[in-house]
């Protein structure tokens, strides 16, 4: 496994917003089929790191690679736009607030990308939408508008929308934080299912129990650095670093 080239390779990532250094020399390798959880206090840079991977917030320094392709290549604007749109098709992202398109039905939320970007016919895309919705258990909602769905359903549609692009990697930024507690489980189940299917995933989460149960590796971030990383049994049961211990004490008891 370690001899293989990493799927996602973040090298010496740095990011500042003005004078504020949000990421400081972050390194992260994710291999194919691996599931990495990122935990850490609010403001530690977790979202920023995730958003850097698909260039929503481009890095100020360092490199990000997806297999053999550098994601954050310096290119002239027009070429860059083409390059990044291509890259993003390979990286699915799920947000805390779903970001479904409210003016489109569930069906069209899902088929938009495949028809516009992959040249899929309407019929093929419809079939794909049906498959993806069945996968997240929402077949009967295909012609609803997002405003007619619960938060948990919205998030499952958002996951189906991302999966319809057949991404190589899925990024989750606190996918369940905006949900009512009783709706968290249905989304977690979908993510667990993806894990069983060996989807490569990077999951930012505040849910320690969930992270422990699905991921292969945990990163604890604080103030823009990776303080500690390792397998979940080690990080959650026997963390070495004092900051990790303090953070977990608060979160596991809270």
């Amino acid at each position: 496994m370690s001899s293989e080239k990493p799927f996602i390779d973040v090298r010496h990532a740095a990011k500042s917003f003005g004078a504020l250094e949000v990421l400081k020399d972050i390194n992260l390798q994710v291999h194919k089929g691996q599931i990495v959880a990122i935990i850490g206090p609010s403001g530690s840079g977790k979202s920023t790191l995730l958003r850097a991977i698909n260039e929503l917030d481009p890095l100020s320094g360092g490199e990000i690679w997806l297999e053999d392709m550098q994601i954050n290549k310096k290119l002239p604007p027009r070429q860059y736009e083409k390059h990044i749109n291509k890259v993003r098709q390979d990286i699915g992202m799920v947000f805390q607030h779903f970001n479904l398109f409210p003016h489109l039905t569930v069906r069209h939320n899902i088929t938009l990308g495949p028809t516009m970007l992959k040249g899929m016919s309407k019929g093929e895309a419809d079939k794909l939408a049906e498959e993806q919705l069945a996968h997240v258990g929402l077949s009967e909602r295909i012609d609803y508008y997002p405003s007619q769905l619960s938060g948990g359903q919205k998030q499952r549609v958002a996951i189906a929308r991302a999966l319809a692009m057949k991404p190589k990697v899925m990024l989750f930024d606190e996918a369940t934080s905006a949900l009512d507690p009783e709706l968290v489980e249905e989304v977690n189940l979908v993510m667990k299912r993806l894990a069983e299917e060996h989807m490569t995933m990077i999951i930012v989460t505040h849910e320690m129990a969930f992270a422990e149960s699905v991921c292969d590796r945990v990163l604890f971030m604080d103030e823009g650095v990776v303080v500690e990383e390792g397998p979940p049994e080690v990080i959650f049961k026997n963390p070495v670093n004092e900051r990790t211990q303090n953070f977990l004490r608060k979160h596991l008891n809270g």
Partner: protein
């Protein structure tokens, strides 16, 4: 000379034809003002300054001068530089562009009000900036501003009377023509006022239906 509405039915044909012209002018210039408004809004938000600055001057001209003058300019003025437009065409271009400039300000605000997450959601799928605008941002922006755009459409209907001065035989001019034959100003003005009112009601009702339909998709 008392009032005598019995003269009106004799001119019903020409008044109805006038009403049809008014409707045609309103609908065509409403379409121009709507799509033009979107176009101008996108230019003024995202256009290169080479396009944006001339547009700004153009918008300033259309907002800062009387519509009547703009109609004169388009109909009588453009002939001198070889552009000879039929009155109807000059009328809908004038009305359409005038209201497009007003609509563009509203749509611009609508675009800026669309949640940032919508751009991010679209871009993470891999849509380009242009595709994101076209498929995601503008359709939502437009939905958000249906009421104020609707108000502009109603204003447009009323201002369509101005094209009578360049000789389009719409409602107002058809009243004038009837009056010039009968000298019954009050009766015919009231008759066409009723027509405007009815058209207005239909317009408002359609806008209401549109608003209801899009409620679910916002």
């Amino acid at each position: 000379m008392g009032l005598d509405f019995s003269v009106v039915p004799g001119f019903l044909d020409s008044i109805l034809i006038g009403a049809l012209w008014t409707i045609a002018i309103t609908l065509s210039s409403a379409a121009i003002s709507f799509f033009g408004g979107i176009f101008f809004a996108v230019i003024s938000l995202y256009g290169h300054w080479v396009i944006r600055l001339p547009f700004r001057a153009f918008a300033f001209l259309f907002m800062g001068t009387p519509l009547l003058l703009q109609l004169f300019l388009i109909y009588f003025g453009l002939i001198q530089i070889g552009i000879d437009l039929p009155a109807f065409v000059a009328g809908i271009i004038g009305l359409g562009l005038h209201f497009a400039v007003y609509n563009s300000d509203i749509i611009k605000a609508g675009i800026l009000a669309v949640d940032k997450g919508q751009h991010e959601g679209a871009r993470t799928i891999g849509l380009s900036k242009g595709q994101t605008l076209r498929k995601i941002i503008v359709p939502q922006a437009v939905r958000n501003v249906v009421p104020p755009i609707g108000n502009n459409m109603i204003a447009l209907l009323k201002d369509s009377a101005l094209v009578s001065v360049i000789g389009v035989t719409e409602l107002t001019l058809s009243a004038q023509l009837a009056i010039s034959q009968t000298y019954r100003a009050f009766e015919f003005y009231v008759a066409v006022a009723v027509c405007y009112y009815i058209i207005n009601l239909c317009l408002e009702y359609s806008l209401h239906l549109i608003e209801r339909r899009i409620q679910i998709s916002r």
